[in-house]
């Protein structure tokens, strides 16, 4: 009902506008083309300056309104560099923005048609053109310089002491793997993936390095002040690990692992206090279109202290043990296993090790 009402109002608005437009055209013809043109020109010239003034006020007001909502300080050391780069860029482009927009609308207003004015024949001026080729070029060189300095800094090799976590995207969620005590990620092969059997990443059980690998879903634990290196994979389509508070982002591409590393500055608890929001979590948002559930593809990063992390890790059972509970050293088999070895459970695995 209200929709029909709205449509009626819209239609009425159209009709009124049309009638006014038609009428003003007739009035214009009666008044004489020249007079009509001059009047319209004055109105639009005036609107130019109105738009400039209101626009600049609007830009300022918009900034006041939203600057508190753009996530505040970066929660990673690398993000600080990105923020610095952002402020440098905002300053430079801000000056250019105000300058050029003011000139544009001011010229439009100032040099609007006037019977007495003669336009100035000014087809070119090599000096001027040289100036505004060179100045932007220099400015951009500065921006490129800063940008690349930070870029290589951020995308360079992760420090040796970095905590390594493997992140795997799937429709529509995240799987995390820790290398376990041996600090080595065991081999995996995607044909081994079986959600039913609990082998969500396709680990190859023949490789002993997989036996202590810890696999968890939806929540990832990392340590405050310790660099963390993410090794990013996808199980199906392209996803993207987006970490707004850390200012980091990297695609998850099936078949081609990618990496990114950063150093978190605050624990989740510290952020809760800092932002005054008890529900705060560091979220992983999928930033690459991945299908119908793209907008729900949320993961959580818990930044904790080293002690909390050690405690958490102790509580986790390796994926191997989850799949073969009878192989748990802490929980010896009650009966003789008829299941046999892992290789028997998955006879193809041996072949796959060779192929990889």
């Amino acid at each position: 009902m209200s929709t029909i009402f709205l449509l009626l109002i819209l239609l009425l608005g159209f009709l009124i506008t049309f009638q006014i437009a038609k009428a003003s055209e007739y009035v214009g013809v009666l008044k004489g083309e020249k007079k009509n043109f001059e009047q319209n020109n004055r109105i639009n010239g005036f609107l130019m300056i109105v738009f400039l003034v209101l626009g600049l006020i609007g830009v300022y007001w918009c900034n006041e309104l939203f600057r508190g909502k753009i996530l505040g300080e970066s929660a990673s050391l690398q993000g600080e560099k990105i923020d610095t780069m952002l402020y440098i860029t905002i300053t430079i482009t801000g000056i250019v923005f105000v300058l050029t927009q003011v000139l544009l609308f001011w010229f439009a207003y100032k040099y609007q048609y006037n019977e007495k004015r003669k336009a100035f024949y000014f087809p070119h001026d090599n000096k001027l053109e040289l100036i505004w080729t060179v100045i932007p070029a220099i400015t951009l060189t500065v921006l490129v310089g800063f940008g690349l300095y930070y870029w290589f800094n951020i995308t360079g090799e992760a420090p040796k002491e970095a905590l390594q976590v493997e992140v795997t995207g799937k429709q529509f969620g995240w799987i995390f793997r820790y290398p376990g005590k041996d600090n080595v990620f065991g081999k995996k092969y995607y044909q081994n993936i079986s959600d039913k059997d609990g082998n969500t990443l396709g680990l190859i059980w023949d490789d002993p390095a997989t036996h202590d690998d810890i696999v968890v879903q939806s929540e990832m634990y990392i340590v405050k002040d310790q660099p963390v290196k993410l090794i990013i994979n996808s199980r199906d389509v392209v996803h993207d690990v987006g970490l707004a508070y850390f200012r980091m982002k990297m695609d998850a591409v099936p078949g081609t692992p990618t990496t990114m590393w950063f150093t978190p500055k605050y624990t989740t608890d510290e952020m809760k206090k800092k932002l005054g929001n008890p529900d705060f979590e560091y979220e992983i948002s999928c930033d690459q279109m991945c299908g119908r559930g793209h907008y729900t593809m949320r993961g959580i990063i818990k930044v904790v202290t080293q002690d909390e992390f050690t405690l958490w890790k102790l509580k986790q059972k390796p994926n191997f043990v989850q799949v073969f509970p009878d192989k748990d050293p802490a929980n010896p088999p009650k009966t003789d296993t008829t299941k046999g070895t892992a290789a028997v459970v998955n006879p193809d695995a041996a072949k796959m090790v060779v192929r990889r």
Partner: protein, 607 residues
């Protein structure tokens, strides 16, 4: 009429061409409805066909954005009437995720390709090239006609994809595989994706037929005296646009063909290591690279944005000079910067891929080349500003849109400096900042440039004027509305808010913008309504608009205004006018304007 061919004297090829055309005129004076309005080979009619098809697409594409803005602005509300119209796509009055993604995908595809490439280049290249260079028609009117009808075919296939049971393509306008390659990964990647690919292939054919024609016409069929440096900037812009299209669209097509092979031929160009949760199965494909597609796509994708913006720049340059009653400042610099942009367009594609795991060193090369584009862009902006300086400006609707274009181009161009810088792109990639950037610099600027052209050349197209009052309302609401819609989106992007989400309420990091999203949606609907006002003005004025009585209503120098008010096929009834000067002699030697056809006077000053 063969004396005219001799007078024209541009070598044999052109002479025979003209003769052929004159024959054509003589023998087919009684045109049927079909040859005049449907399968017309007259470049002016083909231009109008492109324009009106483009307008239909613009309305459809705009309507799609209204629908998904409804979802974004009111994620919790239900609209039962949506279910009446859309059926299962809006079950319970709520837009379903599959349909939301289909809407954004089609909105992007339609606006980028069918409106701002087909509609913009197709219209103005066809309309202006022969008229402004002084030719009777295109080099090959037949190919030109085919170009439109391939475009029409592409449109029909694309529209039909809206009606298939599994819905249209829904993997985003970029259609990255594996999502777009695997029907099991997404409903939209089933039949809808095949239709999308077929439509795009037809579109590429249309664009190549058109582009080759534009290039050969501009190079070979200029009238006597029309040297390349006497071409209006519109023609220069359309020329570079056509070159860009001819060189880059085939690469896109090859990317699409490989994608079709992956979809139906069992190949693994883009596929590797895939296990689908939906079917609980691992695919056999190994060794392909999903990133390969992105390279092929963006090798067109980036030039594509210049294919959109260069014609707009050309139209704006011409209109600005005419209405400031002043020569365009730095003609050669304008041509040079168009050339520089066209070259750089091919060298920057990977800046769309900074976070795909691209080698950081390679990334740095693309940063450098990308930010280089800011230099020719800055030259253009400063030249436009200087063109206004000390002019005598008439605010015709076309001029308003030209000024609006420059303002938008500045705003959107500056945010390009953010995104082209890989360091900032890490944070801003695929957020609303990107949405704001490309809508302002490509979408809105492109559309404003297109309106600028339509308002300026409507009298030439139809022999009538558009209604001025409606035009002014159209401009100010569109211009202010576009800023209101897209400016605040930068802030959402700075907060890292990802694009292509239909509901942010479950996200702690991004749920603070609910009110803003609602505001943007409301403004978007108002702006859309005003576009309907324009459409009405357009069609009403074709039949009932004020008649043009002067041959040169804008006191312009270029050749199209020397043709009759309603030119027939062949454009000039007698001989094709000869050209003696560049097109920007406004305010020279105290004279308001000096048409290109006027010989240089003895005591005229040099520029």
């Amino acid at each position: 009429m063969s004396n005219e061919a001799t007078l024209h004297g541009h070598g044999e090829v052109i002479t025979t061409h003209d003769v052929h055309h004159d024959d054509h005129d003589v023998h087919h004076h009684k045109e049927t409805f079909i040859t005049k309005y449907v399968f017309s080979q007259d470049h002016k009619m083909i231009a109008k066909q492109f324009l009106i098809t483009g307008m239909v697409w613009a309305i459809l594409g705009g309507l799609m954005s209204v629908l998904f803005r409804l979802q974004l602005g009111y994620p919790d509300a239900t609209f039962p009437w949506l279910e009446d119209i859309l059926g299962k796509w809006a079950k319970g009055g709520k837009i379903q995720p599959e349909f939301y993604y289909a809407l954004v995908t089609m909105h992007g595809t339609v606006l980028v390709f069918f409106v701002l490439t087909g509609g913009l280049s197709g219209t103005f290249a066809n309309f202006l090239i022969p008229l402004q260079i002084g030719a009777r028609d295109m080099a090959s009117p037949m190919l030109n006609m085919l170009s439109y009808w391939f475009f029409w075919g592409a449109s029909v296939v694309m529209i039909s994809s809206l009606f298939v049971e599994t819905g249209p393509a829904s993997g985003g306008w970029t259609s990255y595989p594996p999502l777009s390659a695997l029907g099991d990964a997404s409903e939209g990647s089933k039949t809808g994706m095949d239709l999308w690919l077929i439509a795009m292939a037809l579109f590429v054919v249309s664009s190549l037929l058109g582009g080759l024609n534009y290039i050969s016409t501009i190079l070979n069929m200029r009238t006597k005296g029309m040297s390349m440096t006497r071409l209006p900037l519109t023609i220069w812009a359309l020329f570079f646009t056509a070159v860009l299209g001819v060189l880059s669209f085939p690469v896109l097509l090859s990317g699409f063909i490989l994608l079709l092979f992956d979809r139906h031929g069992g190949t693994s160009f883009y596929l590797s290591d895939i296990f689908l949760t939906e079917t609980n199965k691992a695919l056999p494909n190994e060794g392909g690279s999903a990133i390969l597609y992105q390279h092929l796509f963006w090798f067109l994708g980036h030039p594509e944005v210049y294919i959109i913006i260069l014609p707009a720049m050309g139209l704006v340059s011409e209109v600005m000079s005419v209405n400031a009653r002043k020569p365009i400042f730095g003609y050669m610099a304008m041509v040079g910067s168009l050339f520089a942009i066209a070259i750089l367009a091919f060298l920057v594609w990977a800046h769309h891929m900074f976070v795909t795991g691209l080698n950081p060193f390679l990334g740095s090369v693309f940063v450098l080349l990308t930010l280089l584009i800011a230099v020719p862009s800055a030259i253009k902006v400063f030249n436009w500003l200087t063109t206004l300086w000390r002019g005598n400006i008439r605010f015709t609707p076309a001029m308003l849109f030209a000024i609006g274009f420059v303002s938008m181009f500045i705003s959107g161009g500056l945010t390009g400096i953010f995104l082209g810088n890989s360091t900032l792109d890490i944070h801003l990639h695929d957020t609303y900042f990107v949405i704001a950037h490309f809508h302002i610099v490509m979408g809105v600027s492109g559309i404003l440039g297109m309106f600028c052209g339509i308002y300026h050349w409507f009298p030439k197209m139809y022999g009538r004027y558009l209604n001025n009052t409606m035009a002014y309302i159209h401009f100010w609401v569109t211009f202010a509305g576009a800023y209101l819609i897209f400016w605040p989106m930068h802030y959402e992007g700075l907060a890292g808010m990802p694009r292509r989400y239909l509901d942010y309420s479950n996200w702690i990091s991004f749920n603070q913008f609910g009110d803003l999203n609602r505001f943007i949606s409301v403004v978007a609907m108002v702006v859309f309504a005003v576009q309907l006002l324009f459409i009405f003005n357009f069609f009403y004025s074709i039949f009932k608009g004020r008649k043009v009585i002067s041959q040169n209503p804008w006191q312009s120098n270029t050749l199209e205004w020397t043709a009759p008010i309603r030119p027939g096929h062949g454009n000039w009834p007698g001989e094709i006018p000869e050209v003696y000067r560049w097109p920007y002699d406004y305010a020279k030697d105290g004279r308001d304007f000096i048409p290109q056809t006027e010989p240089i006077g003895g005591n005229e000053s040099k520029h």
